[in-house]
Amino acid sequence: METADLYLSLFQVSLLCFIAGGILPALMNGKQKFANTFANGCSFVGGSLITIIAGRLLIFQDEFAVTAWRMMSNIVLKVHFDTLAALFLLVIGVMSIVCSLYAQGYATKYYEKGVAGYLGALMNIFTLSLIGVVGVDSSVTFLIFWEFMALSSFCLVMFEHEQAKVRSGGYMYLIMTHVCGVFLSFAFLILYVYTGSLEFVDYKNVGAILPETVKSVVFFFFFIGFGAKMGLFPINVWLPRAYPVAPSSATALMSSAMIKTAVYAFLRVSFDFLGTGPAWWGITVMVVGTVSAIVGIMLGVIQNDIKRFLAYSSVENMGIICVGIGASLYFQSVDQVVLGALAMTATLYHVFNHSVFKSLLFMGAGAVLKATGTCDVSKLGGLIHRMPWTAAAFLVGGMSLASLPPFNGFMSEWALLQSLFHMIFDCEGGAVKLFAALVVAILGFSGALAAVAVVKHFGIAFLAKPRSEGAVSAKEVNRSMRLGMGLLSILSLVLGLYPGGVVALTNAVTSRYFPAKIGGDMMLYVPFTPQVSQNVSVGLIGIVFALLLFGVFLCIRLNYGKSAYVLQDTWTCGSVHVPKMEYTATSYSHPILRIFHGVLGLSRKVTVEKEYEYYPKRIHHALDISARVGDNVYKPSIGILVQVFKRIKIIQSGNLQAYLSYMVAALILTLLWSR
């Protein structure tokens, strides 16, 4: 009983922190510095307490439930954290700590405008809604918090609403979230019809009592609803528009914690509620995930804005997570427990990893934005000399994003690829084997494209000569921002070198669904059968690598003495080296456009201002990839919607009598209904 009390008091204090941090800074907005510090302090303390609770729940495989408020007879606001919820609570907690540290420095940008207090308050409210989403365990309260999360994140996206770009991104986000949220309501309604209950407890293994078709309908309604929040293709359009325009500290929290709540909810409904489904569910989810991965990164690599690239890369990473979920669903239905556990471990591992490296990269982009005033890499350059810490952090995040060892991105990629390889080796059916081979190939391709994108953005923005005034006068960002990025860089390395820490936590979740156990300490250890196992240890290889690096360096130093070099201008056939001679961001990714122009729908416009035929005065060159989906699917469907709404608009006549008659009619109908 004592532990329950401990949890309860920790939880209450943390909620109090977030609520205080959500209200008071907005009231004290007059004193900018104090309001900002207070808000971030609240986030920090609240986040730490949440982390402690979640870590303890996971390590001791505990559960924790508390009832807060009986709203109506059967709608009760209560939270229940089991290990699955605790895992995501941990992500929220850790990220809110780091983001509060970073935001403390980042929000100084808003002191002049006098809105830093509001930002801090919104961040606290947003975190509160995230905790609610993973905590509550009845369908109505879940939908309420889901909505609460959507609205609070909408406010964050709209934070710089003076710009038209921000407003359009924000509205698109709001609309997409709600259109897809409808599917969630329907899915929960169907569950209610069949069970007569709103409680998640009663939905457990509801799959057994649902008819086969209804089960599939519910599953795919949930998949659409949560997939939209994850930003899966083809409902990904809002993500690259909404993320880049929010303040960087908010984007970091959104990309690391908010889209993970959709992963949480999808895992909850698919594994807890519906249980073992038919094999084609898993395959469909894998197909959607694979397509999202490749489309996301292909669009990401051609962006010239760091934040837009990162947003598209979120689409890719959510695709990868989705492939993991699909694979574990498939393995569950064909009863391959070890592979199922491996795929799920890979999924959850990637949830951690993506949170860490994506918020690290968004923080890096935010630092660049704050220092230079732009995120457009074609206006940057040479920042590694002026912002060495930011550059190092961005490089770490980028390597992790490109899933390169020794950083954390590699470990989850390895586990996922390993499970897919064994889907080829061990599963029955030629079609499945071929399918899995294709998925491996496409994931490999999208991983390599992610590396292209990272090289492009890091190389163009941070290396060589600066391309604009802003980049020339850039200064390293303040200490609290560096602290935030530094912590995440270290975390990124630790999670890569020591998989045991993560595996201990994920095992608490996977053991609920699969009887097999993935081992992990310094090595990640996969026991396929008692005899055959496969292990990987980036840590050991990393140590050997470090020794070799040192050995080679020492060898050359001892044999040939200290390195001697002179600095010279880069050779440019005799002229002076100017920034214009550098390779540009657009040309860096041009080969991709050129090779895949059929897929991306590239249109190219060249207009020549002629004065003389062969020596044109000026050439305008414009590239546009109105990717096929944008023009051929979205625009027509928006057109249809607008037409429909115009028809419906006649009921909104502006006539007071008409409105009153609507009310009377509604009242009569309600009375008749409830009679």
Binding site: I384, L395, S403, L404, P405, F410, E413, W414, Q418, F421, I424, F425, D426, G430, K433, L434, A437, A441, G444, F445, A448, A451, V452, V455, F458, G459, I460, L463, A464, V532, Q534, V536, S537, V538, L540, I541, V544, F545, L549, V552, N559, Y560, S563, Y565, V566, L567, D569, T570, H577, M581, E582, Y583, T584, S587, Y588, S589, H590, P591, I592, I595
Partner: protein, 313 residues
């Protein structure tokens, strides 16, 4: 155990010292096929040790990346050397890594080369970096599929187990699947080592080049270390090909005779692959850069066919 570890280090040293010789052999073969005398076999050694002694010239805008990338590439390639069986079927680090790790370690090498190519701000570096990264991105699925088509008959990703299983398999000369995957993998090897028809390793300052353009700004010892790393990478890629398609002769038992025989067979096999590539290089011209994806797509198609044949078997 200690003996095996020590032997692993010796094996790595052998591969390291052998790598420039392979390049020398390839160059000599090419020269002879083109009716030239050509340089000595040992010319690559002379080059490397000459570069190591020289002072360097670096670009003014270059950062610490230019100074560390050669070492990182060298050490990462050495790590791959420890992960892959060459003379003896058990690689020293075989228990901690598999073929996926090998592929991703090569990706690390490529990542650092490509990022540092942008460090000096030269347009050539950027161009080479962009092309190399994009082409190798298309190369990645080709490599993975080729590997899968071989691994289907083995059922594990552990390189040591792959080799020891492949040796014991019943080989059918008319197993088309294996031939197809062999061809597919050969195309990937050509692409990864940057040879004709994918890329021309002998040019500098030609607008069509991929790989070499990234390395124009290195000099002195940095260039020497990097050059050696790239030769080592080439030899290791050949070893990978040899392991997957002609594994016989590798030492299975840890005895002196078996190991010596393994060494002899290994040297012969690697040089044979090198000579084969030299012949291909002489017989073909470099293809246009935007035709390269088609070459790699043909490799992907071959691997897919091989996989289908393997599944149907």
């Amino acid at each position: 155990m200690i003996k095996q570890l020590l032997f692993g280090l010796v094996q790595l040293l052998i591969v390291l010292l052998f790598a420039p010789l392979v390049q020398g052999m390839i160059k000599k073969t090419k020269a002879r096929l083109q009716n030239r005398i050509g340089a000595d076999f040992v010319q690559p050694y002379r080059d490397i040790f000459k570069y190591l002694r020289k002072d360097a010239v670096l670009a003014k805008d270059a950062s610490w990346l230019t100074r560390t990338t050669p070492y990182i590439c060298f050490a990462a390639t050495l790590c791959v050397g420890l992960l892959i069986p060459t003379l003896y079927v058990k690689a020293p680090l075989g228990m901690t890594g598999d073929i996926i790790v090998i592929i991703y370690l090569f990706a690390v090498v490529r990542f650092f080369l490509a990022i540092t190519a942008l460090d000096a701000g030269s347009a050539f570096g950027g161009m080479g970096s962009s092309r190399e990264m994009v082409m190798s991105a298309i190369c990645e699925p080709a490599l993975l599929l080729a590997v899968i088509s071989v691994l289907l008959s083995v059922g594990t990703t552990n390189v040591g187990d792959i080799v020891s299983t492949l040796i014991q398999l019943d080989w059918d000369l008319f197993d088309y699947g294996h031939w197809l995957s062999c061809l597919a993998f050969l195309i990937v090897i050509i692409a990864e080592t940057g040879r004709i028809p994918y890329d021309n390793p002998d040019t500098h300052l030609e607008l069509t080049m991929l790989h070499e353009a990234m390395m124009l700004e290195y000099s002195g010892r940095y260039w020497g270390v990097l050059q050696w790393a790239i030769l080592l990478k080439q030899t290791i890629l050949f070893s990978m090909f040899v392991n997957l398609f002609i594994p016989w002769g590798i030492a299975v038992e840890f005895t002196a005779e078996a190991l010596l025989l393994g060494l002899a067979v290994y040297v012969v096999k690697i040089i044979a692959v090198g000579v084969l590539l030299a012949c291909i290089e002489t017989a073909y011209a470099k293809i246009r850069i935007f035709k390269i994806p088609k070459l790699l797509a043909s490799s992907i198609a071959l691997s897919m066919l091989a996989i289908v044949l393997q599944i149907a078997k």
